[in-house]
Structure formats: structure tokens, C-alpha cells
């Protein structure tokens, strides 16, 4: 997985490319933990993400919990496969999701 990180003031934008799974989820966790201090707006762009497994959901949940305390988080460009995963697991109710 490739992670492109852009930070502007209190906003952090992470674009994910590839698969968010058992092997790559730790990379995202490190990228988020290393930059989340003082962030009030976190955007995770899934435009080029193929899919995610429960290991990825765990990292998203952790990020959402942190952002609930210090600001807001959005997940953008969610494809149909990923949206179905969010629906089935109830994550659609936890995350703020923009399909576009």
C-alpha cells in the first residue's frame, strides 16, 4: 500500500493506494499516529484503495476515536466494495463517509 500524506495547518489528508490489510494496516497506523497530534480535520481518501480487511477497520476505528476527541474525520471516495464492507460491519454508522 502507498500512503500519500499532506498536512496543511490543522488538516491532515491521507490518500491510500492498494490494499489495506493485515500486512499494510500497521503502516497506516504509524502514519496516523506520527501526525495526528494537534490535527482537527483528518481526511482519508480511498480513491485508489482496492479493499480493506478487519485489520484496516481496526486502524480506522482507532483514528475515529482519536478524532472524536480533537476534531473530525472524513473518509472520501469510497468504492462500492468498500462501502459494502462499511455497511455489513456497521462502520457506515461510525464513520463520516463521502462516496465522492
Amino acid at each position: 500500500m502507498k500512503i500519500t500524506k499532506t498536512q496543511k495547518g490543522n488538516s491532515l489528508y491521507l490518500a491510500l493506494e492498494g490494499r489495506l490489510d493485515t500486512n499494510t494496516a500497521p503502516e497506516l497506523e504509524i502514519a496516523i499516529k506520527g501526525s495526528i497530534d494537534g490535527i482537527e480535520e483528518l481526511t482519508i481518501d480511498m480513491q485508489s484503495l482496492d479493499y480493506l480487511s478487519s485489520a484496516g477497520l481496526r486502524v480506522l476505528l482507532g483514528a475515529q476515536k482519536t478524532m472524536n476527541k480533537q476534531g473530525s474525520m472524513r473518509v472520501t471516495h469510497v468504492n462500492d466494495t468498500i462501502m459494502e464492507i462499511f455497511d455489513v460491519t456497521g462502520f457506515a454508522d461510525i464513520l463520516t463517509i463521502d462516496k465522492e
Binding site: 490494499r19 490489510d21 493485515t22 500486512n23 482496492d50 479493499y51 480493506l52 480487511s53 478487519s54 485489520a55 477497520l57 481496526r58 476505528l61 475515529q64 476515536k65 472524536n68 462500492d80 466494495t81 464492507i85 455489513v88 460491519t89 456497521g90 454508522d93 461510525i94
Partner: protein
């Protein structure tokens, strides 16, 4: 009506097996192996992704827990069945007996603060596959998933 197996499957064996060290690093190799078999079936991208996720969850579980703290091997078998056309993937290990289907289903209605991740992976697999079964036989964990193509 008979459903014919598409593409080159008829020319190939209807069963393929990979025996590999059960490590997290090998999830990718297992995924590649299964995807190679799926390509012959011309299955949709969506089905392939659902199967890839299932591999991440199930082989990942074996890698993490079956032989912990040691390591061991696992067998991944891919078979194609007809009427209806389906792929059956069997994961076999000689590790600690563990029935993933016996785990409690996660409460997916809880808020972020109350959420637990345990059990979510197997829950996703149950929801996306057409059939899943587990048995412990002759010292082996045998977990089988079936997906209609």
C-alpha cells in the same frame, strides 16, 4: 441444465494445493496463488476482492494463532465445483484446535467508543461467502469457504 466450467479450467486440474509456512508475510503469496486459479474462472472483480479479504482474515488468523509462539505450515486448497459454478477454498493447519465459527458475533450497532474489533474479520467472511464450515479432524483444523461465481 449443466453449467460448464468456463475458460481453461477444463484443461487444468480441478484442484490445486499450496503448502506454505503460516506467516503473515505469506498472505500475499497465498492471495496470488488463489487469484491465479480465479483468473481461469473469469470471476468478477468484486468476487475476487471478497475472496482476497477472506484469505487475509483466515490465513492471517492461522499465521497469528495456530502455532503461536512457534511456526508451522498450512495447506491452502482451491477447488472448483459445478452446478452452481463455485470455488471452494480449504485452509488446513496442524495447530491449536480453534473453531472461528464459534466466536460470538460482534455487535455492529455500537458506537466507536464501545466498539470491539474481535470477531469482525470472521463476521465479514461469513457475510460475503456463500458457505463456511469448520471441522477438527485427525489433529487438523479444516476451514472451508465456498463462493458461487
Amino acid at each position: 441444465m449443466q453449467v460448464e466450467i468456463k475458460g481453461k479450467w477444463r484443461e487444468w486440474e480441478k484442484m490445486k494445493e499450496l503448502i506454505i509456512d503460516a506467516t503473515v508475510e505469506n498472505i500475499e503469496k497465498v492471495t496470488e496463488f488463489v487469484n491465479q486459479q480465479l483468473e481461469r474462472l473469469e470471476c468478477s472483480m468484486k468476487v475476487q476482492m471478497q475472496i482476497d479479504i477472506a484469505i487475509d482474515e483466515l490465513f492471517g488468523n492461522i499465521a497469528h494463532y495456530a502455532y503461536h509462539p512457534k511456526t508451522g505450515t498450512a495447506t491452502v486448497r482451491v477447488e472448483v465445483t459445478e452446478n452452481p459454478l463455485a470455488v471452494v477454498i480449504t485452509f488446513i493447519d496442524n495447530g491449536t484446535p480453534y473453531d472461528p465459527l464459534a466466536t460470538r458475533e460482534p455487535d455492529i450497532s455500537l458506537s466507536a467508543e464501545e466498539r470491539q474489533i474481535g470477531g469482525l474479520g470472521i463476521y465479514m467472511v461469513k457475510k460475503s461467502m456463500d458457505d463456511i464450515s469448520y471441522e477438527y479432524r485427525e489433529g487438523k483444523n479444516i476451514l472451508k469457504i465456498k463462493k458461487n461465481i
